[in-house]
């Protein structure tokens, strides 16, 4: 295994030849934004947010799949890349139904954080408001296609870490979506082990644990009633 020497944003660094640009950058404290990459699972280069400029080439390269090479001169941040990244995030928002205020992941969402970090203050593109389904057939978890950004992290996690491969992608273009089992309701997919790793891998609120949504927040006011009756009528049992 040989070591390659190259530069990232003017900083001379070296890494083994099997390292990707993204890994090399992170090791050296340079953060490249990404939504579809997750340590521990394979890479797909789907979100296109980690695009970097390499001197001597017109084409942008996805840092998560491109391996480092000798004398490579990499730029991870430029006005052009910033513009592209902001536009990509805007298109993600325009493509789905991302309503932060009613989302389980609000304040804890990688898409929301990404929008903030790329400086998105509005969406230049018209929202498409697609009609997408909600799958609540699983005993423990829910899948809301409205919030899915199709990063396929859950699919790779289910296949590579859990080994179940219950989740997969179906459809093309606008009809692309995550499916469970043989395109069944998730609760009927027998291969699912209910491990919940997919929920952990989801960058948004598309996969969530049941009971954590805003609509499911129940308040138990009988407790208050109990205290009042207990004080007034000295009645300490329900």
């Amino acid at each position: 295994m040989s070591v390659k020497t190259f530069s990232i944003d003017g900083k001379d660094v070296s890494a083994e030849e099997t390292t990707t640009i993204l890994e090399a950058a992170r090791e050296n404290g340079i953060e490249i934004p990404t939504l579809c990459h997750m340590a521990g699972i394979s890479v797909v280069g789907a979100c296109r947010l980690c695009m970097v400029e390499i001197e001597g080439s017109n084409k942008l390269q996805a840092a998560c799949v491109m391996n480092v090479a000798e004398d490579m001169v990499i730029h991870t941040d430029s006005p052009r890349l910033r513009e592209y990244r902001q536009m990509i995030v805007e298109l993600l928002f325009a493509e789905g139904n991302h309503i932060c205020s009613v989302c389980v992941a609000n304040g804890n969402c990688e898409l929301q954080e990404m929008a903030r970090s790329v400086g998105m203050d509005h969406c230049r593109f018209e929202y498409t408001y697609p009609k997408r389904a909600l799958d609540l057939s699983h005993r423990l978890y829910g899948l809301d296609h409205n919030r899915c950004i199709l990063c396929t992290r859950c699919v790779r996690t289910c296949d590579e870490i859990e080994g179940a491969h219950t989740l997969d992608m179906a459809g093309r273009g606008l009809h692309n979506r995550v499916i469970a089992g043989l395109n069944q309701p998730w609760g009927q997919a027998e291969s699912c082990t209910s491990c919940g790793k997919c929920v952990q891998s989801c960058p948004t609120g598309a996969l969530f644990r049941k009971g954590s949504t805003v609509a499911e927040m129940n308040r138990d006011q009988t407790k208050l009633e109990f205290i009042v009756t207990a004080r007034e009528k000295k009645q300490w049992r329900l």
Binding site: R48, M87, I88, F125
Partner: protein, 85 residues
Amino acid sequence: MLTRIANRQANRSDIERLRALCDLVKNTSLCGLGQSAPNPVLSTLRYFEKEYMDLINEDDGNGFHPLPLASSGDAKPKEEAGHVG
């Protein structure tokens, strides 16, 4: 976006946005389809720019539409709805 332009509802900024979108898709796509799909739009923008400009509203994107062309079509159903209500 193209529908808006064809319906004379677009302004200059829409053309620029369309161009920017094509540029983005062309340069950041993974596969050859994405890299070439914006080409028809870009080439019509290059060779038929006058036709595009004839279709847009000359209001420089400040929200004021001096031409009643686009709104007249939209206004009719609204009036009818008002009569029903």
